[in-house]
């Protein structure tokens, strides 16, 4: 629950008369009624006449050589229409988002548990599954490389070698030494994005030899290009149509599903549908990088940071995917939102036979936040300072240098954020006479004993970049059309639940004064808008919508302005009415349109960035956002059970575009962070995923989720961003786990250097 929507906000929206609209209002999502009523169409709900069902055969081993694949028995089963393997890929056999290193189907090697080997289309899902199981694969099982530290010396798992990227960051004087030195070793586990809807899709062959893929893609154009290359088709013969997205926390869709679907549809000439089981979903999609971090912090006697030395090792799994980007973020933000004159970081991303890692909200930045905040707590303890105080003495501000040599030009109100959470009131202790009604760690079953519960308060400061880094061409295109007093937005930016379509409607309402704004569903016939990730769509797609809307506005008003001999700037549009500054002119949008349609298309492309050079230096980021969180936890020090009581959040948002949506994004992010801090870890001993189900992989429920209190939203506009707004979703995820760990440290006095926090790490052993 959140406290941002105070009675004031409600009164304001009521006083405004009718429904909220425009920038700064809490316009509700247009999809909300359909989603709550269960009529919103997700990919798993799609149907086509005469469709076939697909099943994918996946490797049971993390590392094996494929000696032989025999599909004859499966292909001969009644009801089976096609079986495809690596031999049936007409185009590129390898693909990948950044590096083409991942086979569509494993050919002679399998490199992770769950890697696709073959796919079947049959007339019933169970027949397809049975046929997939009947495919004979002869393996020569190999020793898996599962310890990333051993990947350097291990046999190469891939022709490209095991080292995906190494960034040595050198900033300042390597010989600088502080008066106080603390060291720490930190580990972060494998978080799964665990979207609420598992992967699903429908592929429909086209009469012209092309194919349409109906999938919950978050980056339709990139998915289309990969698919077309693998199918050996021109890009215009493959169309990706984005269906309802049932939750996305990264690159949602697993190409191991889209590509077999398309191949099977092309092969059979029939529509083919696939719905992943939860187990397949856990095996197939990308996870957060498990990370090992070794840190040494130097500070002077007053607690000012002198030098930070770090070694960061990301476990990328078998394929490169987005690991290079994650590593860049980890290395660049290794010291956190603090001023440090000397920083030396070695960062590596290596291949292993563990489950694949990739883009999951806040990748790289999250893992280092856990480590540098652990170090700040250690320094505070060593110097006898309050944890909030030592952070306050080192906070970054606008104009300071990042360890990459980039100057922070955007607002960086880190000190203000920290002060806001530090000074906020603490949540009350449980009260009431009946102790059995207190919600204690361990839950409602009553195992908690008030006498064994300690409360702790901890702090964390987090930072993350917005938009793709290191020279990524971040561009989006949008079209706005006005007709009959209504407006339509056409943009391939995918609504993943993050609220882009709501934002697009608000922008058009604001610029054109038209109430009724619709956003069309996305597909690849529209111009590219790029992936729904790193807060891109708030910035680039929102910016493109704004520009297109302004162009339409000019087209609409120019003839009027010319007629009345005044400039366009003197006319305003509100509630569908056009008025001049002096009130002489007053007409309606519909009247001015006179049955005409106005169209405009615009692009938004922020300033370019550099790749980090071979000493980790460069202006790699377009924008940065910051967050401060104060966590309050209760720990049962005998059982090691932790309950997060409250998280107080202060965030740098640039400008609030939709207060309710913003609060929801922060709550969602914080909850994901709490999940990582306390329970989410997809275990894969020796490379084999254990218990890939929602019973085995615990996600926070309503009882686990803390009260989220948004104590301050700093609205200092980022002048280069459209509306001055910053993306808000990622930075709470990045910061929350470190805050929880810090609070558990305060409650127990234990070091807490590993996430998720296991019960044994939160137990205070009795003094004997």
């Amino acid at each position: 629950m959140s406290v941002i929507d105070g009675p004031g906000a409600v009164a304001e929206s009521l006083a405004g008369g009718g429904t909220p609209h425009g920038i700064g209002s809490s316009l509700p999502s247009a999809d909300a009624p359909a989603k709550t009523q269960g009529t919103y169409p997700y990919a798993a709900d799609l149907w086509a006449e005469g469709l076939l069902w697909a099943a994918v055969l996946r490797s049971p081993y993390p590392h094996a050589r494929i000696v032989r694949i025999d599909t004859a028995e499966a292909a001969a089963m009644p009801g089976v229409r096609a079986v495809v393997t690596h031999e049936d890929v007409p185009g590129d056999a390898m693909h990948g988002r950044r590096v083409a290193d991942r086979p569509v189907f494993a050919k002679d090697m399998v490199r992770h548990h769950g890697e696709p080997i073959a796919a079947v289309a049959a007339d019933h899902p169970d027949t397809a599954r049975l046929a997939a199981a009947a495919i004979l694969v002869e393996y020569e099982v190999l020793e898996p490389v599962t310890d990333p530290e051993k990947a350097f010396a291990a046999e190469p798992l891939h022709p490209d070698g095991n080292l995906i990227r190494h960034i040595p960051l050198r900033f300042g004087d390597p010989d600088a030494v502080g008066e106080v030195i603390v060291e720490g070793l930190y580990r972060v586990g494998r978080q799964d994005p665990a979207p609420i809807g598992a992967e699903a899709g429908l592929a429909v062959p086209r009469p012209d030899g092309g194919v349409e893929l109906y999938v919950a893609s978050t980056d339709p154009h990139a998915d289309r290009d990969i698919a077309a290359a693998c199918f050996g088709l021109e890009a215009d013969h493959v169309k990706v149509v984005v269906t309802g997205v049932p939750g996305a926390l990264g690159d949602r869709e697993d190409s191991g599903i889209q590509l077999p679907l398309g191949l099977l549809a092309l092969r059979t000439g029939c529509p083919v549908k696939f719905v992943a089981t939860r187990e397949e979903s856990f095996l197939g999609h990308a996870h957060r990088h498990p990370t090992l971090l070794r840190y040494r912090h130097h500070a002077d006697a007053e607690g000012r940071l002198v030098k930070v030395e770090a070694q960061i090792l990301l476990d990328a799994g078998a394929y490169a995917d987005a690991s290079s980007d994650a590593l860049a973020a980890a290395v660049a933000f290794a010291a956190g939102p603090y001023v440090v004159p000397h920083v030396f970081v070695e960062g590596w991303a290596v291949r292993t036979n563990n489950p694949p890692s990739g883009h999951v909200r806040g990748e790289g930045a999250l893992q280092v936040c856990t480590a540098y905040e652990g170090q700040m707590d250690k320094l505070a303890a060593k110097l006898g300072l309050e944890p909030a105080e030592i952070r306050m003495r080192n906070v970054l501000a606008t104009g300071d240098l990042l360890p990459t040599g980039q100057t922070v030009t955007c607002p960086a109100p880190v000190g203000e954020l920290l002060k806001a959470v530090r000074d906020a009131d603490l949540p009350p202790l449980p009260d009431g006479d009946d102790e059995s009604q207190w919600l204690l760690p361990g839950g409602t079953s009553g195992a908690g004993e008030p006498g064994a519960v300690r409360r702790g308060v901890g702090y964390a400061l987090g930072m993350v970049h917005v938009l793709g880094a290191e020279g990524t061409d971040e561009v989006s295109t949008a079209t706005v059309r006005v007709h009959d007093g209504r407006a339509t937005v056409i943009c391939a930016a995918v609504e993943t639940g993050q609220g882009f379509t709501t934002l697009a409607r608000q922008i058009v309402q604001e610029v054109l004064g038209v109430e009724d704004v619709r956003v069309l569903p996305s597909d690849t016939d529209q111009p590219p808008a790029g992936p729904a990730a790193r807060g891109r769509h708030t910035w680039v797609s929102g910016g493109a919508v704004e520009r297109a809307a302004k162009m339409v506005r000019t087209q609409l008003l120019q003839p009027l302005a010319a007629k009345f001999g005044m400039s366009v700037e003197l006319l305003t549009i509100a509630d569908g009415k056009i008025t001049s500054y002096d009130g002489v002119l007053s007409t309606t949008v519909a009247e001015t349109l006179d049955g005409k349609e106005l169209w405009a298309t615009a692009q938004c492309r922020p300033h370019p960035t550099d790749r980090l050079d071979d000493t980790g230096q460069g202006d790699a980021f377009v924008g940065l956002t910051f967050c401060a969180i104060r966590a309050v936890v209760d720990v049962d020090i005998e059982l090691g059970a932790v309950r997060v009581v409250e998280l107080a959040v202060a965030q740098d948002v640039g400008r609030v575009l939709n207060p309710r949506q913003l609060a929801a994004r922060i709550e969602a992010g914080v909850t994901q962070g709490v999940g990582l801090a306390l329970m989410e870890d997809l275990r894969a001993p020796r490379g084999v995923v254990k218990r890939p189900s929602l019973t085995g992989y615990a996600l926070p429920t309503a009882l686990d989720a803390p009260d989220v209190r948004i104590v301050k939203l700093v609205e200092e506009r980022d002048v280069v961003a459209p509306f001055g707004a910053k993306a808000v979703s990622a930075v709470p995820v990045v910061t929350a786990p470190a805050a929880v760990a810090s609070a558990v440290r305060a409650a127990t006095g234990r070091p807490v250097s590993r996430l998720p926090i296991r019960p044994q790490a939160a137990i205070v052993k009795p003094q004997t």
Binding site: P78, G79, A122, D123, H124, D126, T127, R129, T277, R278, E279, L439, P441, G442, G443, T444, S445, G446, A447, E449, A452, E638, L639, G640, A641, R643, L678, M679, T695, A698, P700, T701, A702, L703, D704, P759, Q760, I763
Partner: protein
Amino acid sequence: MSTYAQQTAENVTLPTSLDEAVAALAAMPSAVPVAGGTDLMVSVNAGLLRPAALVGLGRIAEIRGWQYADGAALLGAGLTHARMGRPDFAALIPALAAAARSAGPPQIRNAGTLGGNIVSAAPTGDALPVLAALEASVILAGPEADREIPVSHLLTGMDPLRPGELLAFVRIPLLHAPQTFLKATGRTGPGRAVASVALVVDPARRQVRCAVGAVAQVPLRPLEAEQWVAGLIDWDGERTLAPEACTAFGEYVAAACIPDQPGVELPPAAVQLRRTVAALSRRALGRALA
């Protein structure tokens, strides 16, 4: 040839009485009885289990309630966790109510049944340690005759369900004395038990009975620890214990349930589990004798 019709063929019977259900099972021995389906249907949906036929037990009214019989409660196997969690039931068998309330999120508790918990016999089944501590017995309805056996015989496989038999009722002695159920999970929200402890005080027999769930395939009864602690209690007096006795009891129970391996040091996970069981047992005894 299409396999569609073949794959979708389902055979579901929905009897409205126990006799009908037993007859349905006898008529089709390969049929699987299903009550709440919270375990079974997950496996079916995941394609792990493909029952030839199902006998749905949800319409048998006689096993969805409870009655009193000779100082005991006769609970229908179809009682849901949600029903057992309500205050009227909690007044009757508090430990079972506490276990039922912690057995999962509301959706699971609304569907899952007592009988299902026993028959699926998962090590983490929350009702099982309570039934073991209460020394409950189960009444099995069969094609020839009904029979009654201790729940532990069923759980350990000493006396398993015979073909065509259905779990109909659970007989639980009413003790009119404190009883507790405590469960440790890794989280605040509902989750599977890491360890659970059920502890009941039986003044009539001057016993304390304790069962530890989730640490082994079946609930474990630390009999020596039970006898030791029962000997410390002044049954005719205050029935209280010193905190040191509760602590010692916890250690005793934990060491009995997670025994030392001769010549081998306990792995850290086992040490942690032992600590958890000790804390739960100590708390359970402390609360029962408070």
